[in-house]
Each structure stands twice: as structure tokens, then as C-alpha cells.
């Protein structure tokens, strides 16, 4: 039963039951996400873009409550923008991660938000920071999140390699997210990929019929 009346005792808030993933490869990083936003059993948005813009080379992947993560991302985007204006150069990915962390840590009892911050900066290159529910910050070479990630830990542990090429990393993300969408009811739709490098960001839309596992 899908209850969307906010006063109902069984109200299920809109969440991003989801599959999100980021992987560093030799030359940059690849971000992948599914496109389903669910409100209980109802698919509220079947073509969502879960890859949120923070700065020109910094993105965040959101899972948990859509309301919580959208609001936090909005604040962090503003702070990073102001900071970058004053700095006069590209901000560090770690800065964005720390700003997210401050929200998730201080309000840990009120929020349901887990975020992956991924990006490139001129100081340390491509970086991925995972921020789970409590507000800790963990730097990783690859990260998966959302409800769909539970289904692909084995796949990812077995198939991840250091210093992959762009093609290998893209295939890795595509198959991992595809496998998660195959089994997770809260993930689905199309796959959005984003390639972040020093020179450019490249978006890719993977139609449902091209998802590797159906």
C-alpha cells in the first residue's frame, strides 16, 4: 500500500532507493546511477538524474531521503560556489566532501542521507569520498551505494581492478549497476553515466534496452 498522505501513520517518504556507483580509472573517474525514485512501491520519477552537480568537476551521488539529500546538496553547492569565487581556482573535492560531512554529522539524528562525493581537482586528481549515514568520510578508489548496492558487493569485489582503462571502467560500472537494477525493486529504468576528467565531463544515457542485464 502506498501512502502519500503525509498525515497518515503509514506515510512513506520519497526516497532514492537506488543504485549509485563511482570508480576511479587511469585518467579520471566514471560515475553511474540508475534512474528510479520511489515513494514506497510507487515509482515517482522513472528517469531521475541522481548525479548532482556541485561544481564543474565535483559531483555527488545521493541515496536515502530525496528531500534530505536535495536540500543538503543545495547548501553545499552554494558554499562551494562562494568558496570557489573567492579562491579563484577549482575547489578541492575534499572541501566539498567536508562540507557534506558537516551536515551529515551534526544532524545525524534527523537525517537519512548517504552520499558519494566524486570529482577531479588539480591538487590530487580524481577522488571519491564515501559519506555513509553517520557522517564519516572515507576516501576510496571505488564506491557503491543505495539499496541496490547490496546485490553487487560480490560482483564489484571480484571485478574491480586498479588502473583500469576508460573502456574497462565504463564496462565495470555498466554491468554492476545493471546487475543491481536487475534484482533491486527500488532501482530501475535507465542508467546515467558520467565521465569526469581533467579536460571535460561527458554524459551518457544508456536506454533500458541497452542495459546489459534484463
Amino acid at each position: 500500500m502506498n501512502y502519500t498522505d503525509i498525515l497518515s501513520p503509514k506515510f512513506e517518504p520519497e526516497t532514492t532507493g537506488t543504485t549509485i556507483m563511482a570508480v576511479i580509472y587511469d585518467g579520471g573517474l566514471i560515475i553511474g546511477a540508475d534512474s528510479r525514485t520511489s515513494s514506497g512501491q510507487f515509482v515517482a520519477d522513472r528517469c531521475a538524474d541522481k548525479i548532482d552537480y556541485v561544481h564543474d568537476r565535483i559531483f555527488c551521488l545521493r541515496s536515502g531521503s530525496a528531500a534530505d539529500t536535495q536540500t543538503i546538496a543545495k547548501y553545499v553547492r552554494y558554499y562551494v560556489d562562494a568558496h570557489a569565487q573567492e579562491l579563484g581556482r577549482l575547489p578541492a573535492v575534499a572541501t566539498a566532501a567536508n562540507l557534506f560531512r558537516n551536515f551529515l554529522y551534526e544532524y545525524k539524528d534527523s537525517l537519512s542521507a548517504a552520499i558519494i562525493v566524486a570529482g577531479w581537482d588539480p591538487y590530487k586528481g580524481a577522488q571519491i569520498f564515501t559519506l555513509p549515514l553517520g557522517g564519516s568520510v572515507i576516501e576510496q578508489k571505488w564506491s557503491i551505494g543505495g539499496s541496490g548496492s547490496t546485490f553487487i558487493w560480490g560482483f564489484c569485489d571480484s571485478n574491480y581492478k586498479e588502473n583500469m582503462s576508460l573502456q574497462e571502467a565504463r564496462a565495470f560500472v555498466l554491468h554492476a549497476v545493471g546487475h543491481a537494477m536487475y534484482r533491486d525493486g527500488s532501482s530501475g529504468g535507465i542508467i546515467r553515466l558520467l565521465n569526469v576528467t581533467k579536460d571535460k565531463i561527458e554524459r551518457e544515457f544508456i536506454d533500458y534496452k541497452d542495459v546489459p542485464i534484463k
Binding site: N2, G17, S35, F42, Y53, F151, G185, I190
Partner: protein, 236 residues
């Protein structure tokens, strides 16, 4: 029908289902009744079992499908199959009609409802008997409703409008099947617990026909979907 758990005096309350089947849509058409369901059984939010045949042939001219707890569905299939066999004992050549199965299921569901130990199911019985089409819905409490079209689960929210607009009770089999396929396309897009592989089965005066599972085609490559990107929102 007595369940073993009731015999041994154990109290059992089905408070929440574990493995669940999805929506069912059934429509009457000119020559019979057609039922459609998807081939997925979910384990909570996980799409655990993807190739499940959920259309049960109960007798020569009756089909039974349900949504809800899958183990309860399997148990009911066993019990309904027993009815025809035990009717043989009377040796009078009388076979239960589709309505008999519907009625039995309604009484059974009501009995279990009264013991606060329900069969966690929305049941659909379809049949063709003596030139007449039969379609009924029996819900978790034992409410019995005969109707020309039946939907369970999420289909009740999304598909009634489609059915009202594109179906009538005297349409052809192909028209009715096409309406069901359209309904499952919408469900696949908007129901987290739906799958795009569906199975259709129909009963007419020749008897029961259950078809192979088929995939419904959904469209995802809209321009708006493709070009929607968060950096466009924030850098313009």
C-alpha cells in the same frame, strides 16, 4: 480444509507476506476470459524469482491466479485441485463449475479471516462454463465480487482508467490482450514490484490456454529523459 498448524493448536497469524506476486489483470472478452500477470515474485524489495509461472489451471475450464503471498497461492492451488478429485467420489459425472471454485475460495477466505489468520491473497478465478463467461475477485477477507474486469494490487490504481477507455466486454481476444499489455507497460514504469515479462492465459469454450511469457516494450529514450542533466540546471 484444515491446516496442520490449526490442528496442532498452534496460533499462526500471517501479519506480513514474505514472497509476493505482483498485480493481476483479468478481462472478459467476446468468447471467454483472459488473465494477465507478470512472472516476478518479490522478496520484499528484491526481485528474487524472475521466471515464475503464476497462472494455475484448476480444471478443464477454470484458471486461478492471485497476488500476494506466494506460498498461500501454492497452497490454494493444491486445495482447488483436490476439489475436482474428491468430486469424483460421487461418481455422478458432475464436475465443479468455475463458480463453484470461486465460491469455495470465498468461503475459505472468510473462514480464515474470522480466525484472524488470513490467506494473504487477492484471488482471481476465471472460467467458461455452459457458454457463459465467469470472472470473479475474492479478496483477503473473503469478499466475493463477480465482474467483467478485475484488477489487483497496483493495477487497481493505474489500470482501471486504461481498461475503461480501451476495453469493452464484447471485444476480441486480441484487443483484450493488447489492453492488458498496455496496462503492464504502465505498471512496469510506475510499480517498483513489477517486471516487464508477463504471461497471458485465457479460457474459452475450447478450454484453457496458457501462453509463453513475453516481454512488454516500454519507451525510455524520450528527448526530455536524455537531455535532462543536473549541471544544466545549475550552470545556466
Amino acid at each position: 480444509m484444515i491446516f496442520n498448524s490449526e490442528l496442532s493448536g498452534q496460533q499462526q497469524h500471517t501479519t506480513s507476506p514474505v514472497v509476493t506476486g505482483g498485480s493481476v489483470i483479468a478481462l472478459v472478452y467476446k468468447g471467454g476470459v483472459v488473465i494477465g500477470t507478470d512472472t516476478l515474485c518479490s522478496y520484499g524489495s528484491m526481485a528474487a524469482f524472475k521466471n515464475v509461472e503464476k497462472i494455475a489451471q484448476v480444471s478443464k475450464n477454470t484458471l486461478y491466479v492471485s497476488s500476494g503471498e506466494f506460498s498461500d497461492f501454492q497452497q490454494v492451488v493444491k486445495e482447488l485441485a483436490k476439489i475436482d478429485r474428491s468430486a469424483l467420489q460421487y461418481d455422478d459425472g458432475v464436475h465443479p463449475s468455475p463458480r463453484d471454485y470461486g465460491n469455495f475460495l470465498a468461503r475459505l477466505s472468510y473462514k480464515k479471516r474470522c480466525k484472524i489468520n488470513p490467506l494473504y491473497l487477492q484471488n482471481v478465478i476465471a472460467g467458461f462454463h455452459n457458454g457463459e463467461r465467469y470472472l470473479a475477485l475474492v479478496d483477503i477477507y473473503g469478499t466475493y465480487l463477480e465482474s467483467n474486469f478485475v484488477t489487483t494490487g497496483f493495477a487497481s490504481y493505474f489500470c482501471k482508467a486504461i481498461i475503461s477507455n480501451y476495453w469493452n466486454e464484447n471485444c476480441t481476444l486480441d484487443q483484450a490482450k493488447q489492453v492488458i499489455r498496455e496496462c503492464f507497460k504502465v505498471l512496469f514504469c510506475r510499480d517498483c514490484r513489477a517486471h516487464d515479462m508477463i504471461q497471458l492465459g485465457y479460457v474459452d469454450e475450447q478450454g484453457v490456454h496458457i501462453e509463453q511469457a513475453e516481454r512488454v516494450e516500454t519507451k525510455w529514450d524520450f528527448n526530455g529523459f536524455k537531455t535532462r542533466a543536473n549541471e544544466k540546471l545549475h550552470t545556466q
